[in-house]
C-alpha cells in the first residue's frame, strides 16, 4: 500500500540495471535503498518534449544549495518544477559529481566483460543511460549533469571533493512527487568515487503510486520565493498543455 492508501506498483531494480518510464503529474516515485550504500543515477525529461530536461545549475542556484533533500525541487531548464522531494530519510543526494563510464569501471573493477561474466558483467551508468535513452530516440546530446540518489560527495573550503562513506543507511528512502509528466531514466550502478573495490551495486526498490497535489502551503512550494514562482510557471504550462487559455 502507498502512504496515501491507494494502489502501488513496486519493482526491484537490481544492481547494474537501468529503468525508464513516463511518470505522470501527481504520481509519486519512491526509491528505497534496502541494503544501504546505493547509488541510483537519474536523468529527467519533459515526457512530451525532451528538449526540456533536468538542469543541475538552475536547481542549485534557485535554492542556494549544492545538494538535494526534502522540501527542495528539481528544476528543468525552462524554469519549471519537474518533481518535488516530499520525503527523504537519507538527507543528502548528490548532483555535482556526475556518473561513471566504461573507463572508470574498468579502472576500478577490471574488464568485467559479458564474454567472461555473462549477465553479471559490469554495467556502468553512462552506457546504461545511452541504452535507455536510445529507446526514446535520445542519445549523447541528452546526457547532462545527473542526480545521484543516496550519494554524498562533500566539498571542502578549498573546493576539494571528497566521497562521504555510509551516507545512506539500509532502508533509507526518498519520495519524488512529480509536478509534470516526466520521462524518468534511472541506472543502479557504482559511483566512480565510491572506493569499494569489488563490483556489486545493491538492489533498490522502486514504488509508484498516486499522490495528492501540493497545497498552497506545501513545504516544497514555500521553501523559497523562487520555488513559488517555479510552481506558478509549472502550473501555467500544465494549463497550456490542457488547452486552457
Amino acid at each position: 500500500m502507498s502512504s496515501s492508501g491507494g494502489p502501488e506498483k513496486t519493482l526491484v531494480l537490481a544492481g547494474g540495471q537501468a529503468w525508464s518510464r513516463r511518470v505522470r503529474r501527481r504520481q509519486v516515485l519512491r526509491l528505497t535503498d534496502d541494503a544501504g550504500a546505493a547509488c541510483v543515477s537519474a536523468l529527467l525529461f519533459n515526457a512530451d518534449d525532451p528538449l526540456e530536461r533536468y538542469n543541475m545549475a538552475d536547481t542549485l542556484k534557485a535554492q542556494f544549495t549544492a545538494y538535494l533533500t526534502a522540501d527542495r525541487v528539481l528544476y528543468s531548464d525552462m524554469g519549471r518544477v519537474l518533481c518535488s522531494i516530499t520525503r527523504d530519510t537519507c538527507g543528502w543526494h548528490d548532483t555535482i559529481s556526475g556518473c561513471g563510464d566504461g573507463a572508470t569501471s574498468r579502472l576500478r573493477f577490471g574488464a568485467g566483460r559479458y564474454q567472461e561474466l555473462r549477465n553479471d558483467f559490469h554495467r556502468n551508468a553512462r552506457d546504461n543511460f545511452l541504452v535507455e535513452l536510445g529507446k526514446h530516440g535520445l542519445g549523447r546530446r541528452d546526457v547532462v549533469a545527473n542526480v545521484n540518489f543516496f550519494v554524498r560527495v562533500g566539498v571542502d573550503d578549498g573546493g576539494g571533493l571528497r566521497w562521504i562513506a555510509r551516507n545512506s543507511k539500509a532502508g533509507a528512502l526518498v519520495e519524488l512527487r512529480f509536478e509534470m509528466d516526466t520521462l524518468v531514466v534511472l541506472t543502479n550502478t557504482p559511483h566512480p568515487l565510491d572506493p569499494k573495490p569489488t563490483y556489486g551495486p545493491p538492489a533498490v526498490t522502486l514504488s509508484l503510486f498516486e499522490g495528492p497535489g501540493p497545497e498552497s502551503d506545501d513545504p516544497c512550494r514555500i521553501f523559497r520565493a523562487e520555488n513559488e514562482r517555479g510552481f506558478a510557471l509549472t502550473e501555467a504550462y500544465v494549463a497550456e498543455r490542457k488547452g486552457v487559455l
Binding site: 528538449l51 543541475m56 528544476y75 531548464d77 543528502w92 556526475g98 563510464d101 566539498v155 573546493g159
Partner: protein, 215 residues
C-alpha cells in the same frame, strides 16, 4: 585560491584578437595546439563558455567529469577541461584570476523569472546569446547542445554544509585565463548580460578574445 600563472605570448602575434561586448555571443573553431586567451578587460565579468569536439559535437564539455576528475569544483591553472567522453578538450595553461566556476550554469529568461521575478522575462540573458550564436553557426546545434557550462571569472563558492551562493567576483581589470586546445574545438561564448546578481558586479563589460597558433 589556486596559484596564479602568467603567459609570455605576445598579443601582436595573435591570429585572432577581438573585443566581445557584453550581451554578445561568439563561436570560433580552434585547431588542436592553438592557445586561446580570454581577458577580463574591466574586471568581474562572467564569460559563459562551452566547448565541443569540432569533429563530433555530441562530445562536449562536461562540468561533472571535469570537477570529479580533478577532485575540485573550481577551475584554475592545470585543470583539464574534460568532455562527456572523459577526454581533454583543452587544458588551462595560464591564469591570473585564480578561480573559475562551473556549477552556476548560464542565465536564461526562465531562470531569471524563477530567481528574480516573473516580470524579468524580458531581460537579456546568456541562453538567448547561446541560441543565437548556435543558430548563426549552423550545423544543427540547438538548445539540446547546451549542457552545464563554464563561467570564467565568476565566483560561486560552496560551503562544507552544502550552501551555494553567487559571491562577489575575485577577478580584476586585465586578468586572464589561457587554454591550450587538445583537439579541434568549437568554442561557444556568451559575454554575460546578467544585471540581477553580482556575477558581473552589476555592470556587464567587454572581454578580449585572442587565439595564437601552435608555436
Amino acid at each position: 585560491m589556486a596559484a596564479l600563472s602568467d603567459s609570455r605570448l605576445d598579443p601582436a602575434q595573435a591570429r585572432v584578437d577581438v573585443v566581445l561586448a557584453a550581451g554578445q555571443g561568439w563561436t570560433h573553431e580552434l585547431t588542436a595546439g592553438d592557445v586561446f586567451r580570454i581577458v577580463d578587460l574591466e574586471g568581474n565579468q562572467a564569460v559563459d563558455t562551452l566547448f565541443f569536439n569540432a569533429r563530433d559535437t555530441a562530445e562536449r564539455y562536461s562540468a561533472t567529469e571535469t570537477m570529479r576528475a580533478q577532485g575540485n569544483i573550481y577551475l584554475a591553472t592545470g585543470t583539464a577541461l574534460l568532455s562527456s567522453e572523459g577526454r581533454p578538450l583543452l587544458t588551462i595553461a595560464a591564469d591570473t584570476c585564480g578561480r573559475h566556476d562551473t556549477l552556476g550554469g548560464a542565465c536564461s529568461a526562465e531562470s531569471n523569472q524563477v530567481r528574480y521575478g516573473l516580470a524579468k522575462k524580458s531581460m537579456h540573458n546568456c541562453r538567448d546569446s547561446f541560441l543565437l550564436a548556435l543558430a548563426r553557426h549552423g550545423h544543427g546545434l540547438t538548445k539540446r547542445d547546451l549542457p552545464s557550462n563554464i563561467n570564467f571569472f565568476m565566483n560561486v563558492p560552496v560551503t562544507p554544509k552544502g550552501a551555494l551562493t553567487f559571491a562577489d567576483g575575485v577577478s580584476a581589470p586585465g586578468r586572464y585565463v589561457e587554454m591550450k586546445a587538445e583537439m579541434d574545438v568549437l568554442v561557444l561564448i556568451s559575454n554575460c548580460p546578467q544585471l540581477n546578481n553580482p556575477c558581473n558586479a552589476y555592470n556587464p563589460t567587454p572581454v578580449r578574445l585572442l587565439v595564437w597558433p601552435e608555436s
